[in-house]
């Protein structure tokens, strides 16, 4: 399916059906009786960046949180529909959400390193806190590897013992990315990872997203259209429908969504007529 490549952003391998790592089918997300996300169907390609854009309150964060079962953490929240990951429905009965989250990690809007832990302990927290015993040298190796992947190693290699909260905002966010990488997930969900950061820190994170696609699949929620245009291969546009539930209006390659959208509403949003 040659058409799925975003030639403008990156000239990379072509995709076929088996390259989809996450398949979302008829997904509905609720908070109590309120439906926040309505009938979403989308397939997310592996080792690519998929961006979810849309105005505030359109349910894009909620949708993202459905992908690793973080949605149900909120009280009264539930999900209907299916999310297929490696041919398994992550919402199948008996599936342990803790297991899912080991495979599908998440980075949040506001950098949230554990303030009681050092930089090093932050990175390996996922591993250390879910095993009974870990070897110190192994953890140090893992931390270095992940910090390098997150392009943070050179900046913090002398501060590994300091508190994670002592770093700058942009560094904290990359620390959170390193922390997510240390669990060795296949997919990393990012919920507006740059909205609390300045432009330079934002640029670093965006670069990082591109490099990470060599090994990982990234799904990023952003309300910054330029960001979606810069980093993503695929773009999903969401909008609040009349019953205030978020709908997927259009989902295509980023190039097409931005240059030749099929839906009038997408075009209006992209060209800045609302939102």
């Amino acid at each position: 399916m040659e058409s799925f490549i975003n030639t403008e952003l990156s000239s990379r391998k072509s995709l076929n059906d088996s390259d989809y790592i996450l398949q979302v089918e008829e997904l509905n997300a609720f908070y109590g009786s309120f439906r926040a996300v309505k009938n979403v169907n989308m397939s997310i390609p592996a080792r690519a960046v998929t961006a979810i854009i849309g105005p505030s309150g359109c349910g894009k964060s909620t949708l993202l949180r459905c992908f690793n079962r973080m949605h149900e953490v909120a009280h009264g929240a539930r999900v209907e529909g299916r999310v297929m990951f490696d041919d398994n429905n992550i919402y199948a009965t008996g599936t342990d959400p803790v297991r899912i989250r080991c495979h599908i990690g998440m980075v949040f809007q506001k950098p949230n390193p554990f303030p009681t832990m050092s930089v090093l302990d932050n990175v390996v927290a996922g591993r250390r806190l879910s095993s009974l015993w870990t070897k110190r040298s192994e953890m140090e190796e893992l931390a270095e590897k992940c910090l390098r992947q997150a392009a943070l190693w050179d900046e913090v290699k002398d501060k590994l013992k300091q508190s994670g909260a002592s770093l700058s905002g942009g560094q904290q966010q990359r620390l959170c990315i390193a922390r997510a990488l240390a669990v060795q997930p296949e997919i990393i969900l990012m919920d507006e990872p740059c909205s609390a950061l300045d432009p330079i820190a934002t640029l670093k994170i965006e670069d990082l997203m591109r490099t990470l696609t060599e090994e990982y699949t990234i799904v990023v929620v952003t309300h910054n259209m330029q960001q979606a245009g810069r980093v993503s291969d695929m773009t999903a546009f969401m909008l609040m429908s009349d019953d205030r539930a978020g709908e997927l209006v259009e989902y295509d390659t980023t190039q097409r969504v931005f240059t030749n959208p099929k839906d009038k509403r997408t075009e209006d949003y992209i060209t800045g007529r609302f939102g």
């Binding site: 690793n68 297991r99 080991c102 998440m106 949040f108 506001k110 009681t116 806190l129 879910s130 669990v183």
Partner: protein, 280 residues
């Protein structure tokens, strides 16, 4: 703009500010007077002998409150030993695991318990423990003090656990960490200074309790040796000595009161210092 309307507003502002200052001043004045009086009186009677020697009979000179100090330490220790784990577990349950309905019922129960007059708790301990065991005891006093302390620890634990941001719990969950592990390794460490502050406030509270001890510890003229026997304690002895006509005993009551107030004061200061450190 109506410039004229500004003057009455300023006057009202000034008047209200004065009222607030008056209220604050009154509160501070009472504390200062009480602390000052106890310090002046207590400091003149307190000495090393007071801390290291046992009590003497009426009419005699010297002596101290060694056994009473030890007794209070034993009772506070015993109370804390029971109340800290129980209160902390209750607080963690309230903030982390209780469904809203159950949690609000438990919270209400804790608040009611915190409001029960301590003498009632003393009578309760008397009926439930002292009476069946046919003996006043340090053990029963420890239980009574623990009952007073549990709601204090439980509620402060809950409050400080709630202050741990949701974002940190979510961060832990998103790393594939189980709920209970995230509570133990992320939420509780984050709330630890608050929890310790709560424990210390609880200790300060029970250290000065007298009423429940009347029904449980009873008081004793002998050094502490058995948890199942009556035990003496600082507040009890202060009460006894202050009521007596003996001059030496009255002086010692002042010294005892001073010691007790200093204990509570120091604990309060440490708690303040800790919570300030936490905020920064």
């Amino acid at each position: 703009m109506a410039k004229h309307a500004l003057l009455p507003r300023k006057m009202i502002n000034f008047f209200m500010l004065g009222l607030c200052a008056l209220g604050a001043g009154a509160a501070i004045l009472v504390v200062c007077l009480m602390l000052g009086y106890i310090m002046v009186q207590g400091l003149s009677f307190i000495n090393l002998d007071f801390i290291i020697s046992p009590s003497v009979g009426p009419g005699q000179q010297g002596g101290g409150m060694r056994d009473e100090i030890i007794g209070t330490l034993v009772l506070v220790g015993l109370g804390s030993l029971i109340a800290v784990p129980l209160g902390m577990l209750t607080g963690v349950f309230l903030s982390e695991f209780g469904s809203p309905r159950v949690a609000s019922a438990v919270r209400f129960a804790a608040d009611v318990l915190a409001g029960v007059p301590s003498i009632v708790i003393g009578v309760f301990a008397y009926i439930v423990i002292v009476s069946p065991m046919k003996s006043y005891s340090a053990f029963s006093a420890g239980i009574a003090l623990a009952i007073i302390m549990v709601p204090v620890v439980a509620r402060t634990t809950e409050e400080s656990m709630r202050l741990v941001p949701l974002s940190l719990r979510e961060a832990a969950l998103a790393l594939g960490i189980t709920r209970w592990r995230s509570v133990i390794f992320v939420a509780i460490p984050g709330a630890l200074t608050g929890i310790v502050a709560g424990i210390m406030l609880g200790v300060a509270r029970i250290a000065g309790e007298t009423a429940p001890l009347l029904f449980t510890a009873l008081g004793s003229n002998f050094p502490f040796d058995d948890l199942m026997r009556p035990i003496s304690a600082l507040p009890l002895q202060i009460y006894r000595y202050a009521m007596s006509p003996d001059g030496n005993w009255q002086e010692q009551a002042w010294a005892g009161a001073f010691l007790l107030v200093m204990l509570v004061l120091v604990i309060s200061l440490v708690v303040r210092w800790m919570s300030r450190k936490r905020r920064t």
